[in-house]
Symmetry: C2
Subunit: 156 residues, 2 copies
DNA sequence: CAGCATCCCTTCTGATACTG
DNA sequence: CAGTATCAGAAGGGATGCTG
């Protein structure tokens, strides 16, 4: 396996600041702050299956290899898992993520061509966050719904 | 018909699944997966200042009270910090977050009216993720840029 | 199967002008 | 100061038809 160790030598300074409009990290934040990006990362990260995110896995310091069920998925698999995604958006988002180095696209010249997508190390590092993001949404859904309900009642 | 219904009486109830198009958590994920939402949460969470997110704070288990510099901010403060945001988007996003119970809006009837925004507990819980999201974007910016560059070169 | 191309509608987003 | 209201362009997103 490719054991790519992040070669950080000077993590001290803040080269990028997403608060600044012109900063490239602002654009990157815009790209990863996307419904489909989050779900695709979750899919390739192995958060699929029953759909729910296990509580125990979220502490991050579990058994490595178990939490990272990062498997390659075919295009149609992803499309099936991400209910409601259009072919256009899926392809578009996958290509963007490929360009940014978050996932790899592998074409196997079988009879009907087979295309698989898999997370890179970079993608896996982001997947830890997207998984939690999805988990947060599912966990706090009730609280949000309750607050919305009581907000829409301005009756004195 | 609707046959696949995961009604398994699991101990940890998986009521919501963002992979499903009709699930409310999908909409919630869509809302929080937003550039401005992330930045507003970061702003109110106290990630401002020099702009950089400290490395040491990210483990999450630091000294509480220090990492949560969640302070109330005025409208103009937020607008100034989030460079490039239009007042329309800012107001719109703030109201949405208020409805969802992620932040509070306080109007003080001073001479020129003063409006302050502050995170709720719910908002703070999400802020932990948005902070890491922003941090990820700023930290991995170089890797992404490098990969983009080599992607746009077919390298025969 | 895994796309790409096209049409078309909706939403987002920024800019401008105007109040309490 | 902290909005609201409106306009117009840009981007998001879906539906359909067509390839290798």
């Amino acid at each position: 396996m490719t054991t790519t160790k992040p070669v950080r030598q000077a993590p001290t300074k803040a080269e990028y600041d997403a608060f600044l409009a012109a900063c490239p990290s602002r654009q990157l934040l815009d790209r990863i702050s996307n419904k489909w990006v989050v779900l695709i990362l979750c899919a390739l990260g192995g958060d699929a299956g029953d759909g729910a995110v296990e509580e125990g896995r979220l502490d991050g310091s579990g058994r490595p290899g178990e939490i990272d069920t990062a498997r390659a998925m075919r295009y149609s698999e992803i499309a099936r898992l991400l209910a409601g995604v259009s072919q256009k958006m899926l392809t578009q988002t996958l290509r963007a993520l490929e360009r940014d180095g978050l996932l790899t696209r592998t074409v196997t010249p079988t009879v009907p061509v087979t295309v698989t997508y898999a997370l890179t190390d970079l993608g896996r590092s982001l997947h830890r966050l997207t998984r939690e993001l999805r988990h947060w949404a599912q966990t706090h859904m009730d609280e949000v719904l309750a607050h919305r309900r009581q907000s829409e009642t301005p009756t004195t």
